[in-house]
């Protein structure tokens, strides 16, 4: 007699739980076992990242002949400027079959709703994992799924391998960031039976350093910086918040709470070089964000700060942070001579 028994993936954990009560069994889980990722790369290079994963279901002898029909899902956390959706190919091998992965349709919703209802996969991963280990919110989750679906039996133990090939540095910038990886099946999504052993997994790679960019811009999201600018990407016609971290390292300004932005030089798109913006007034005063935070910030509108007309724009500026006298200066890496640099741009 033909069996119509059909168990949804999300029921796997229930069966696991039942089995745990009576029958000695193992667990159901999906896990990233190993990440093989280069530590360095050059802008324009296509790098290969290998993930070794484990998918295990073990829910006793109840063989339903096909409990879950689902696609493999892979998420990668990459810099927004890399356009990873267009510059990545993913293939996989597994005991269930080999194949390619395609971009998850932007309208496809994460099925479990465990982190919020009606969220796309990208939204759900962003909500759950944020920006991974990165220090700056300029990375994004890009999600793929296998073009083929597979029937996952009640008792399997397989080791799918994913091969991710990504052309790095589409923005032509030097970048240091922490990639992250997520795997799941398209049926269960972020649904979990056991929080310590869920049917999905996220893992963080080490800092990936990409050099060779021609723009002169460095996005370092791995290492804390003395100064940061928020939003990390902006143009001169919007408010930017520049924050100086006076606790990160011992510098000539350590312990000083009266700090100022000193712009040595600003450069406009039409070739003008602006000077005389190193002054210590309320306009350039970096104010401590909260008491004793050690973080001092100034939000300003460069267009107005540099006295530009509506048709002029600033492309970059170099600066120091100074004390009230202007005599004690701190620049890049704590240097008293080498300035910090900020380059405006959206990519």
């Amino acid at each position: 007699m033909k069996s119509y028994l059909h168990i949804k993936g999300k029921n796997l954990w229930k069966l696991c739980a039942l089995a745990l009560l009576g029958i000695a069994v193992g667990a159901c889980y999906i896990r990233v076992q190993n990440i093989d990722q280069p530590a360095t790369a050059t802008v324009g290079q296509t790098i290969t990242i290998q993930l070794t994963d484990t998918v295990q279901t073990n829910i006793g002898s109840n063989s339903c002949g096909g409990c879950v029909v689902a696609a493999y899902v892979l998420g990668i956390l990459m810099p927004t400027g890399w356009n990873a959706a267009a510059n990545t190919t993913v293939t996989y091998t597994s005991q269930l079959g080999n194949g390619n992965m395609a971009l998850m349709p932007a309208s496809t919703l994460e099925p479990s709703n465990s982190v919020g209802s009606n969220l796309t996969w990208t939204q759900a991963l962003t909500k759950k994992y944020g920006i991974g280990n990165n220090l700056v919110n300029d990375v994004q989750w890009v999600v793929f799924q296998s073009t083929q679906q597979y029937t996952i039996d009640n008792e399997i133990h397989i080791n799918p391998n994913a091969t991710i090939q990504i052309k790095v540095g589409a923005d032509n910038d030097n970048t240091e960031f922490f990639p992250a990886y997520f795997i799941a099946d398209s049926s269960d999504g972020l649904g979990e039976s056991d929080a310590s052993d869920p049917e999905y997994n996220e893992a963080n790679g080490g800092c990936l350093i990409v050099t060779g960019g021609s723009t002169g811009i460095l996005h370092d999201y791995c290492h804390p910086q003395l100064t940061t600018v928020n939003p990390p990407k902006s143009l001169s016609n919007e408010f930017i918040t520049l924050t100086y971290n006076n606790t990160l390292a011992t510098t000539a300004l350590s312990g000083n709470t009266n700090l100022y932005l000193c712009v040595d030089t600003a450069y406009t798109s039409d070739g003008k070089v602006l000077t005389n913006f190193c002054f210590q007034t309320e306009q350039s005063h970096l104010v401590q964000t909260t008491s004793n935070s050690g973080l001092f910030s100034l939000t300003f509108w460069p267009q107005s700060y540099f006295g530009l007309t509506a048709t002029e724009t600033v492309t970059r500026f170099v600066y120091h942070v100074t004390d009230q006298t202007g005599n004690t200066r701190v620049g890049y890496g704590g240097s008293t001579t080498q300035p910090f640099s900020y380059i405006f741009g959206c990519n």
């Binding site: 927004t80 939003p231 990407k233 902006s234 143009l235 001169s236 016609n237 919007e238 408010f239 918040t241 309320e282 306009q283 005063h285 104010v287 910030s297 100034l298 939000t299 300003f300 509108w301 267009q303 107005s304 509506a310 048709t311 741009g345 959206c346």
Partner: protein, 151 residues
């Protein structure tokens, strides 16, 4: 024939009266008023990527309270400019005067390419507000200004 006289005829009369008693009233719909935004508007709430800008800015240099956009007879004027949809004065238009979904600004100097943004015009606590969402710089950075008319 007797049956007709006794039952059907009175019933017919009854239905006729019933039908005649029903009169279709012509519904006088109240026309949706034209959304008139003429006047001077000031910012009461401003966010950048969801973060409140009022608490971030030193009011001595960037006083959001002093910003004005004046709408008058199809023209707008910016007073004490801030990052906005447009940087220079020009003309504006609503896509539909009664049910506007979009407002379009066109500078008369500089870039004269029209710039449109969603137009939301709710009444909040009895006060008509105008919320404009836009990106003055990078498209990833979203600003939202909520304006009220200056009395």
């Amino acid at each position: 024939m007797k049956k007709f006289n006794k039952i059907i005829f009175p019933l017919g009369i009854l239905f006729m009266f019933a039908w005649m008693s029903c009169k279709t009233d012509k519904i006088n719909g109240i026309a949706e008023p034209v959304k008139d935004i003429t006047g001077s508007w000031k910012i009461v709430k401003a966010t950048r990527n969801g973060t409140d800008l009022f608490s971030l800015l030193d009011t001595n240099y960037y006083n959001l309270n002093k910003f004005r956009v004046d709408f008058n007879e199809g023209k707008y004027t910016l007073v004490n400019p801030l990052p906005f949809i447009v940087s220079e004065n020009g003309t504006y238009a609503l896509d539909n005067p009664q049910f506007p979904f979009k407002i379009t600004f066109t500078q008369t100097t500089g870039s004269t390419t029209p710039v449109s943004t969603a137009f939301t015009y709710p009444i909040v606590n009895g006060v008509r507000t105008l919320t404009l969402v836009f990106s003055p710089g990078c498209p990833e950075n979203t600003y939202s200004y909520t304006l009220v008319k200056v009395n």
